[in-house]
């Protein structure tokens, strides 16, 4: 770092290195950028994978995913090799002749896959979409259900 600092006035005094020096200070600035900016970038990227909750009860697994502002037809739910996939594409809700003032919402394709800890009965899966939350109920396959075994006394 010290060596770089020492070089700096010499570099910028030469006209050909002027651009390079600007580039370097730009890179320095990038590394000095507050962490909040990086946090915002990661938040932006996470938009492609909706937040999910997975619950288990005796009969079912229940998966809840936050998918605000979608149409029922735009959501695709599928089961493959014991993993539940929720995917779709959120289309931008544009305002006519509107100038964007603030843009924090995510639009575009998303996908989320959840590996289920036990086998489920694929034919009986149901999905419900309400208030921007998708709830998928996956009934456990018979062999995955807990069984009570009577103890015999001879």
């Amino acid at each position: 770092m010290n060596i770089v600092r020492w070089n700096r006035p010499m570099l910028s005094s030469l006209p050909t290195f002027g651009g390079l020096s600007t580039l370097r200070s730009e890179i320095d600035r990038l590394f000095d950028a507050p962490l909040t900016e990086l946090a915002r970038a990661s938040q932006f990227l996470s938009g492609a994978a909706p937040a999910v909750d997975v619950y288990e009860n005796k009969e079912n697994f229940v998966v809840k995913a936050e998918l605000p502002g979608m149409k029922k037809e735009e959501i695709d739910v599928s089961l493959h090799d014991g993993s539940l996939s929720i995917s779709g594409e959120r289309n931008e809700e544009k305002v006519e002749n509107g100038e964007m003032y603030r843009s924090e919402r995510f639009f575009g394709r998303f996908q989320r896959t959840v590996a289920l800890p036990a086998s489920v009965d694929a034919a009986k899966i149901t999905a419900q979409y309400k208030d921007g939350v998708l709830t998928v109920t996956l009934p456990k396959a018979e062999e995955a259900k807990p069984k009570q075994i009577d103890v015999q006394v001879n």
Binding site: Y55, P68, G69, M100, D131
Partner: protein
């Protein structure tokens, strides 16, 4: 044109953990502003929009969800939503309207008649 609708706070300092700030998109048109806020889990009954002085506060309370079992994995927030915005003085606060559809709140904030661009016909 001055900066008009702007984020002010992400909840109050006194109760920092109680709310999360919804993600918003804001558009400006000739007629006014349109604010869209993502609040999954909030229905019409959980919405509260208050206009006070030069501020608009949107609060969204999640509809109670029935207990469905033991959680294996949790990513979703349980906190309610709240965010405060400063209003452009040009907004006619008596004409603000709101609707919610599948967890997305849309607030329409029309500008008052006197600030709208107007054409004057020359006789």
């Amino acid at each position: 044109m001055q900066t008009t609708l702007d984020k002010q706070t992400n909840g109050t300092a006194a109760r920092p953990q109680e709310y999360i700030a919804p993600n918003v998109n804001i558009f400006e048109t000739q007629e006014g502003y349109v604010l869209q806020a993502e609040m999954p889990g909030v229905g019409k009954d959980g919405l509260e929009i208050t206009l006070e002085g030069t501020e608009i506060t949107i609060t969204g309370r999640r509809a109670p969800e029935s207990v469905v079992g033991e959680p294996l994995f949790r990513e979703r927030h349980t906190a309610d939503y709240r965010r405060v915005f400063e209003l452009d003085p040009a907004i006619d606060t008596s004409k603000v309207s709101a609707k919610i559809n599948q967890g997305v709140l849309t607030v329409t904030l029309p500008k008052s008649e006197r600030v709208k661009p107007r054409k004057i016909t020359v006789d």
